[in-house]
Structures are given as structure tokens and as C-alpha cells.
Subunit: 77 residues, 2 copies
């Protein structure tokens, strides 16, 4: 099964959302990516349509932006 | 098991998010509330912390605002 990807950047809003998502969904179906630590993946996330974190990219390629934590532009600094 | 509540208002953003959520989570664990049709529940949603739709209120009472569709103020008109 293709996994969902949860993008975050370690901010409090991100951590809270991650906790909720992992409670609600099967954790083994989610790949968690910390864009603050893996800045090389920012471009990949943007290409997937991620505009802010935390965000969940589903196996079908849809993007769900969760509670607003930080914009992608902020992550590049 | 206590259910999550997915609040929406029939807007395109809401319908798209609902589709994704029902794919990702167990549909039987989610109660879907259409605030456009059940305006009496707007107050309940606001008390739960919902500021815009679509939003998911988890069994533990946390609110996840998904892609922004409409503010609660807009729904009262």
C-alpha cells in the first residue's frame, strides 16, 4: 500500500497535529518527514502541492493542510 | 469507541477533504455533520473550538482544521 506523507517542521502546531494524525490513522501507513531537518525534501513537498506545514499528502496525491504552523517560505530561512 | 466528528458545509473544499478523510480513516469511526443543513449545531462546533470548515474534532477533543473552506461566521448568514 502506498503511504501518506506527513510533512512537518517540528513546530508546536506540527507536533500536536502529528500526534492526532497518528492516533486517528494507522501509523504504519504514514511516512513522517521533518522538513526542518531534511531541507532537501522541501522542493519535493512543494511539487506535491504543500503550501504550509503541517500537511498530509495522501496516497492519491491530494494535500490536506492541517492547522497552520508555518509557510514553506519560512522553512527555507 | 468515541467517534471523531467531521464538520463541513457542503463547499467544494469540504467535499474534497471529506472524501480524503473517509479514505484515510475508518469511516465507521467518523460522524459527519453538515453545518449548512444543521445550523443548530454551529454553536456546538464553535464550543468544540472549530473556527472554519472543513474541520475534524478528534475523540480526545482536539480540532484539526483542514484546507480552509469557510469561516464559521460565513455559515451563520
Amino acid at each position: 500500500m502506498k503511504k501518506s506523507v506527513f510533512y512537518h517542521a517540528g513546530c508546536p502546531v506540527c507536533v500536536s497535529a502529528e500526534h492526532e494524525i497518528l492516533e486517528l490513522m494507522d501509523p504504519s501507513s504514514i511516512e513522517v518527514v521533518h522538513l526542518g531537518e531534511e531541507k532537501s525534501k522541501i522542493e519535493l513537498a512543494e511539487k506535491a502541492g504543500v503550501k504550509s506545514v503541517p500537511a498530509l499528502v495522501t496516497p492519491t496525491g491530494k494535500v490536506l493542510h492541517l492547522n497552520f504552523g508555518a509557510s514553506m517560505a519560512d522553512l527555507k530561512n
